[in-house]
């Protein structure tokens, strides 16, 4: 079965690869690329919001809609709008265009409260737990991270601890092959904790630098599955000193305000340390991440901007906000 899946994939990989543009991959170009279709329309709107217009109620309302439309949420938006009003008044700002700058600074200041640190993977092994609700891009992100780590000379072990979803293990196996890393699986096991146990032993015996643990998608309001995740965490704690070194919550950029509930629950149950926002190559702005980062004091480490192995780039607050307000 696995062979078949792999061969199918290999054949198609070339095709999808060829679709990529030759543009250099900076954070901003990636994001902009995603926005190309709505950009005209959007910048038109922005033109009317910002361009040389005197600040009146209508301008402020449009600005508010821009923020709401980017999924920043009502509370964060109101807070930002209030600050803008005060600042505009204080600085006697007349022009709508300057509002954008103020807004930009405000939002990136929120994001810079929790700067992303270079990931410490000096421990042997450093255990990184990847969690999130269903379908957000956990497994794909693990493939991309594995690639990143091997590119910088680290030895990586993947752990296939999604024992629930159909073909989840095979999916991770394909990513392991693409990244050229070891993957620990357990045939027919329905017990993720035992796969994690195996992976910890394997990582130690292989003297790996990093273990990336792929967990099944689970909704944060499902107590049983959240307990299962806590158990996975405990297994890593027991088997490797100081583990887990990072607990990463993956948030899909299309997620609305529920993202905040998700984050709170995951923080509560397994102590999240970092965020990664995926699917920012679409038209969703991922604004809920601002609220999450702010409220839970979590740094955003990377963003996912596509389905290929190198479509993961380090987070940059200013560019993120540029794209948000684009």
């Amino acid at each position: 079965m696995f062979e078949k899946a792999k061969s199918l994939f290999r054949r198609k990989e070339g095709e999808r690869e060829s679709e990529t543009t030759q543009q250099p991959k900076t954070f901003f170009t990636q994001l902009k690329q995603g926005l190309r279709k709505t950009r005209d329309q959007l910048s038109q709107r922005l033109q009317s919001v910002m361009g040389g217009r005197a600040i009146d109620d209508e301008v402020l309302e449009e600005l508010e809609e821009l923020l709401i439309g980017a999924d920043l949420g009502v509370a964060t938006t109101m807070q930002l709008m209030e600050q803008i009003r005060v600042q505009a008044k204080k600085a006697k700002i007349q022009d709508g265009g300057s509002l954008r700058e103020i807004l930009h600074d405000q939002i990136s200041a929120i994001l810079k409260q929790n700067p992303q640190m270079p990931w410490e993977v000096d421990q042997h092994p450093a255990v990184i737990l990847i969690a999130g609700v269903n379908g957000v891009g956990k497994t794909t992100t693990i493939g991309k991270l594995a690639h990143r780590f091997t590119s910088s000379g680290k030895k990586v072990v993947l752990c296939a601890a999604d024992t629930f979803r159909a073909a989840a293990t095979e999916q991770l196996e394909i990513w392991a092959e693409r990244a050229g890393v070891i993957v620990v699986t357990k045939d027919d096991s329905k017990d993720p904790a035992s796969v994690v146990f195996d992976a910890m032993q394997r990582a130690k015996s292989e003297q790996a630098d990093v273990v990336l643990v792929d967990t099944a998608g689970r909704l944060h309001n499902n107590p049983n599955l959240m307990n299962e995740l806590a158990k996975i965490r405990r297994v890593t704690e027991r088997e490797v000193a100081g583990a887990p070194h990072h607990v990463v919550l993956i948030i899909d950029a299309v997620t609305g305000q529920n993202g905040l509930h998700q984050a709170k629950q995951f923080v509560d149950k397994i102590g999240v340390s970092d965020l990664i926002i995926t699917k920012l190559d679409g038209t969703a702005k991922g604004g809920v991440a601002v609220a999450i980062s702010n409220e839970l004091q979590l740094p955003i480490q990377f963003i996912g901007v596509g389905e290929k192995i190198d479509d993961l780039i380090p987070f940059n607050a200013d560019e993120f906000v540029d794209a948000l307000l684009d």
């Binding site: 199918l8 439309g69 609700v133 269903n134 979803r165 073909a167 999916q171 499902n222 305000q257 679409g282």
Partner: protein, 524 residues
């Protein structure tokens, strides 16, 4: 899932004080609150604007119906508009014309297409159709294997796409195979894609042109935010969608995306995914969803769930025993088992009217584990003890505590619940929707929840009570039946039920008198 939203709207209605007519002035605040609530629920801001305008237009100038206040009137208007916007009546899948019928699933990455294909195949097979699953996701790692696994789990064949690497070719051959093997319905799983990916959107158009599907279903995640209108809009523009599937409804997202997607495409929401398991797929009912939004609770779905999961025969036996006062600890244990079968208490409570507040107070995790240890205690008892709890001396309790690893205090607690349940049963009266619901709760051992719905006074439902109105009043008062409401409904004050507990009676009478006094004051 819509709990918080409904709470907000209820609060907003409280601010309406005007009498007589709904005017632009007196609904302004309420509309503002509704706007915020809808935005917080992730309804797209443009859709919200539209919705508010509709509500306003429908509301302003309306005479307030006798027996209602302005807030209640507005609830009704908002409810009607919501039902309308969510899609009116339920719509079946289109199976007109000659088979094989083709259903295509499309959507963004990770929305739940592949899983939904399996779920739909299961339903259609159970309805006597002969589906064939067709894997057209040749991109995502192990996507085909995923569909094959799902297919085998639901016992529906999956077209063997081995050696074919283009979706168009796969579909062509699958169609041929379906004709040859008498499969009457093709369910095509496509790769997740962004609506701005022109190459991949064109691929879908090509597929569509090839097989002219009767149904193109856009699969959307209930957790989606503001972007829902962009993605759904673009898919609709490219493909002329025929319907929507809303997944991950088992989460606590308020699901405003449902409104957004519906209003931007105009397509009916046909199914909702309520879990990862392949039988967690349900038809979508706009009216249920709307009452959920407004805090009425999804009563109908709840009744169905209870009916499906609970062993009705066993439950009936238990109920009769209770009514005859022969209910023993053994029976109690059995009914706890039934509660367990209903699954996650959390989602259950989310469906109940007026439960949003209670839900915040009850530690559901604790409740769930309580079920387990209560049963453990009972199983540590001797048959005699289980038969007659009256013989449980403190010495016996100590033994049981040891045997089950709990404290005597906890045993007493369990016994108290047992007694309460016996009592609750006597309150489960009268047929009819509400009565039936309470009966079902009671049978399932959910007496306590029923009690929280009708706190303190559990009045008998007299014949001819307007149940819809009753539900409305209940939800406006956080599930409590106020004296005012009872008056409006023409119900007598709280009375002890015929077979009610004797000791309780005087207290209830006092309450009744108090309620009457209150009414009197109001009249003056």
């Amino acid at each position: 899932m819509f709990d918080a939203l409904s709470q907000k709207i209820q609060d907003a209605f409280r601010s309406i004080t005007g009498k007589g007519k709904i005017s632009e002035d007196n609904i302004q605040d309420a509309l503002k609150e509704i706007r915020i609530a809808l935005l917080e629920a992730d309804v797209n801001f443009k859709v919200v604007k539209d919705f508010i305008a509709r509500v306003k237009e429908a509301a302003v100038g309306q005479e307030i119906t006798k027996g209602l206040n302005a807030a209640q009137q507005l609830v009704k208007i908002v409810n009607d508009q919501l039902v309308d916007m969510l899609g009116g009546e339920f719509q079946e899948l289109n199976f007109s014309g000659n088979p094989p019928h083709v259903i295509m699933m499309v959507g963004l990455q990770g929305a739940g297409k592949t899983t939904s294909c399996g779920k739909l195949a299961r339903i259609l097979a159970a309805e006597g159709r002969h589906p064939l699953l067709v894997p057209c996701d040749v991109y995502r790692p192990a996507a085909i294997l995923q569909l094959e696994t799902v297919g085998s789990q639901v016992g529906v064949p999956v077209f063997d796409a081995k050696g074919i690497n283009s979706p168009v070719l796969i579909v062509k051959q699958a169609l041929k195979e379906a004709r040859n093997t008498g499969r009457d319905t093709l369910i095509i799983d496509t790769a997740g894609r962004l609506h701005i990916d022109d190459a991949l959107m064109n691929e879908l158009k090509e597929l569509k042109a090839l097989v002219s599907p009767k149904e193109i279903l856009f699969v959307a995640d209930a957790m989606t935010g503001q972007d829902a209108v962009q993605s759904a809009g673009a898919f609709h523009e490219s493909l002329a969608l025929t319907g929507l599937v809303l997944t991950k409804m088992d989460g606590d997202a308020r699901g405003g995306a449902a409104l957004s997607v519906k209003s931007v495409t105009g397509c009916p929401i046909k199914f909702v995914g309520t879990g990862e398991k392949l039988d967690q797929f349900e038809r979508f009912f706009p009216d249920r969803m709307a009452s959920r939004i407004l805090g009425m609770g999804d009563v109908l779905s709840l009744v169905e769930r209870v009916q499906e999961k609970v062993d009705q025969e066993e439950a009936l036996k238990l109920q009769q025993k209770m009514l005859k006062n022969q209910f023993t600890l053994d029976d109690f244990s059995k009914s706890l088992e039934q509660i367990g079968k209903l699954g996650d208490l959390n989602s259950l409570m989310g469906m109940m009217p007026g439960m949003s507040k209670v839900k915040q107070k009850i530690d559901v995790n604790k409740e769930t584990s309580q079920l387990k240890w209560m049963r453990a205690m009972i199983s540590s008892m001797t048959p005699d003890e289980r038969d007659n709890h009256a013989i449980l001396t403190s010495k016996r309790k100590q033994r049981i505590a040891k045997g089950s690893g709990r404290s005597v205090e906890e045993i007493n607690q369990m016994l108290k619940q047992f007694m309460q349940m016996k009592q609750m049963m006597s309150l489960m009266t009268k047929p009819g929707k509400l009565g039936k619901l309470r009966q079902l709760f009671g049978r399932a051992g959910l007496g306590d929840f029923a009690k929280s719905m009708f706190p303190g006074n559990s009045p008998k439902l007299p014949e001819g009570v307007d149940e819809a109105r009753l539900m409305e009043l209940l939800q406006q008062n956080d599930g409590k039946l106020t004296p005012e409401a009872m008056r409006e409904l023409g119900m007598a004050g709280p009375t002890a039920s015929a077979d009610g507990n004797r000791k309780a009676r005087p207290k209830k009478d006092r309450k009744k008198q108090k309620a009457k006094r209150k009414q009197g004051r109001r009249k003056r």
